[in-house]
Amino acid sequence: MQFPTSSSPFSPSSNTVNRVMLQVLLALLPAIGIMFWLFGDALLIQLLLACSTALLAESYMLWLRKKPIKMHLLDLSALVSAVLLALAIPTITPWWISISGTLFAIIIAKHLYGGLGYNPFNPAMAGYVFLLISFPQQMTAWAVPFDVISSATVLDYTKTQLGLGFSVHEISTSPLFGYLAGKDWEYISLAYLLGGLWLLQRKIISWHIPAAVLLGLTIPALTAYLIDSTQFTSPLFHLLSGATFCCAFFIATDPVTAATSNKGRLIFGVLIGSLIYIIRTWGGYPDAIAFAVLLANLGAPSIDYYTRPKQVKLS
């Protein structure tokens, strides 16, 4: 009897890209749920806008680049970028903001660099920074939960007030504050943490990057807080406000744009964490995460180069 031949191994693969991406999307559900509870239908509209734009832009770019469209739409990577971006922009921004941000993320940050696997920058964060720089006013006005008015985020507010000479204690009496960080934002942060821990347990991500991001942020925050608690906010404030947990578990862990060795991942994570602290404390933008991630993305190839296993000789 005759048989076709092929090359070993003959065992089926234990994983697929779309399984990874699907689980990332599932892990975002708690945060989406909490945000829906806080912000209502506006969130769903943003998600819908971003996702449909992402799928259309992805299909169009794949068509232009003569790549298999169905296969890449099913890998779900475009949807992950779109959902992360939609969750990062204020729910009450005009429709064209989320659309243009998504287009930038998918077309420029992803496909012009070669598509899935080749983009040096996290597409969602590149889209976010594009929007933040282009439309700062719309991008910093978040709706107050359960309300129709808008206000600055607690990070933004704290920064402004500190600049005006108020102490941390005085600022924390503002109604914007909740228990430890932004009012109700603490729940969103905890929802990201929950989803992230699930990803860890499912071994979709390794612990190195999240742990390093959180440590890289906590250590300088704690040091500064211990030195002067009137001028510097507490480490818990930094962990629970803004998108710290979202960044640690969902954004920094994007494999394409992160370092790949475990040692490299630790350095990469600490870099992001400390950049978040530096930018939040001394930088011009209080929304530090996108900048921190993009800067660390720049460093990832060098980190990989210098953290090669011992037996790989440097030439």
Binding site: F3, S6, S8, P9, F10, P12, G115, G117
Partner: protein, 486 residues
């Protein structure tokens, strides 16, 4: 119990164990023996077409340390010496000795030996070589050559950790021949004068472990169950698990005082020394969903695969691939007319639902899962990257040649990139390039030599001409001087 170390990465693969006892294969009509033994090492036929041979008779002789004699596994007539398809990844035909069996199975008289300790290690090694013994774990490296080392060997490791999940020939052999394996281990230990001897089995073989424990009894052999993490059965990985020493790239275990032998090889050594029998049969696992009755079969080396398939109830309907070896490192064969060799530990017939129904290859997302599972701690994603762009020097910097082609990275890859296949291609490209460079250097050296020789010859000729000229001048001057007074 000794504390075990772990090697980097590896995979926990589902074991496919067989509980059926070993059966003896019936006699096939033809036995086929390829002359090719290892890469570019051929044995030389010592029989002619029409010769009558007996079981255990040498039909091809060894002429390098990388070959061993080939023995007939049954009596019969040498029918032809002709190209047949051999068990090789290329699936190409190469010269084979074909014996038509006569059904009598007459054997050459054997010369048993009752006390191996009366013999010198040198004599025992010669006997092992003459018995045609090679590593039966799959690599088929001549055992006598492996046992010949100037290094001081402190530990002999008997490898009973099955190489791959589908293969169970070693476990079944241990169950049946534990005492003989222990005897074989003692002979090997005597040859090597090794202080320690460890028999390693997998944790999930309780019966085999029990059988060995009884067989070892009072002998000073250590029995160590090791975790069933693929590729623990790999020589370098097993040494790391047992000793905690990770052998450096390109080093051989003997340099560090270790020698590893498979349990099948150990049993063959027992048979060669104590019973005086040549290696003419081995146990082969015939398995996979493509086989109706999976089982372990004691098989004459040289038996065509289809003969084993028939005895295992034939193929099931949906058979898709015929593999020699396991699912991780085996080679896909294009025909079941191919004969089993000393290296064949498993015949695996896979159906489409066992096989990967090859999903489309996606781009690498740099997740690093391949590096996490790599037992050699390489960075497959970087090797892939450089291999793809034909940056072969970088491939070598990233230790491409340390890759043992275990296939863990392939299985872990969420993008289904055929990494091992690509690494093999890159290795081939590098070897070809090195040969070309070598040849170019040779040609260059030859040309330079030629140039130098020509220049030297020219110089010599010039010098000669000068000399001659000078002599003529002198003679002229002399004759002039003679003339002058006149």
């Amino acid at each position: 119990m000794t504390k075990l170390a772990h090697f980097h990465g590896g995979l926990e693969l589902a074991a496919h164990t067989l509980s059926a006892p070993i059966i003896d294969s019936s006699l096939p009509e033809e036995l086929i023996y390829p002359l090719l033994q290892r890469a570019n090492s051929y044995a030389t036929p010592t029989v002619k077409i029409g010769d009558y041979v007996l079981k255990g008779q040498i039909i091809a002789s060894a002429n390098s340390p990388f070959t061993t004699p080939v023995h007939a596994a049954s009596s019969g007539i040498v029918k032809s010496i002709e190209p047949r398809i051999i068990a090789h990844p290329s699936n190409l035909a190469d010269d084979c000795i074909v014996i038509e069996t006569d059904g009598l199975d007459e054997a050459l008289a054997s010369s048993p030996c009752f006390d191996y300790q009366q013999e010198t290690p040198e004599n025992l090694r010669t006997k092992i070589h003459q018995a045609g013994i090679v590593g039966l774990g799959g690599a088929a490296f001549p055992t006598a050559t492996k046992l010949t080392t100037k290094q001081d060997i402190h530990t002999l490791i008997i490898n009973g950790a099955e190489c791959e999940p589908y293969i169970s020939c070693d476990a079944s052999l241990i169950l049946q021949k534990a005492t003989e394996i222990v005897q074989g281990a003692l002979i090997l230990q005597y040859i090597l004068q090794a202080k320690h001897c460890i028999i390693a089995v997998e944790e999930n073989m309780p019966q085999a472990t029990q059988a060995l424990k009884q067989a070892i009894n009072a002998h000073s052999i250590q029995l160590t169950p090791v975790p069933a993490i693929y590729p623990t059965g790999g020589e370098r990985q097993l040494i790391q698990v047992l000793s905690g020493t990770k052998l450096p790239t390109k080093s051989r275990p003997a340099e560090y005082g270790f020698i590893c032998q498979n349990v099948g090889t150990t049993y063959a050594v027992y048979q060669a020394i104590i019973q005086g029998l040549a290696l003419t049969e081995r146990i082969i696992t015939v398995t996979g969903k493509g086989i109706k009755q999976p089982q372990n079969i004691r098989t004459r080396i040289g038996t065509p695969i289809k003969h084993l398939i028939t005895q295992s109830g034939g193929y099931s309907k949906d058979v898709q691939r015929l593999i020699m070896g396991g699912s991780m490192m085996g080679i896909a064969l294009n025909s079941d007319e191919i004969a089993v060799t000393k290296a064949s530990n498993c015949i695996l017939a896979m159906t489409s639902d066992e096989l990967e129904n090859k999903p489309v290859e996606m781009p690498c997302i740099r997740c690093g899962d391949c590096a996490t599972v790599c037992p050699e701690e390489l960075l497959p994603q970087q090797l892939y990257w450089y291999g793809r762009s034909e940056q072969l020097e970088q491939c070598q910097d990233y230790q491409l040649f340390s890759c043992i082609e275990c296939g863990c990275c392939d299985v872990a890859c969420p993008s289904h990139i055929p990494l091992v296949q690509q690494f093999r291609a890159a290795k081939g490209a590098i070897i070809i390039k090195e040969k070309q460079v070598e040849q170019a250097n040779l040609a260059k050296a030859r040309f330079q030599n030629q140039q130098q020789r020509r220049a030297r010859e020219e110089q010599e000729q010039l010098a000669k001409a000068e000399k001659r000229k000078a002599t003529i001048e002198k003679m002229k001057a002399a004759s002039l001087a003679k003339k002058k007074p006149l």
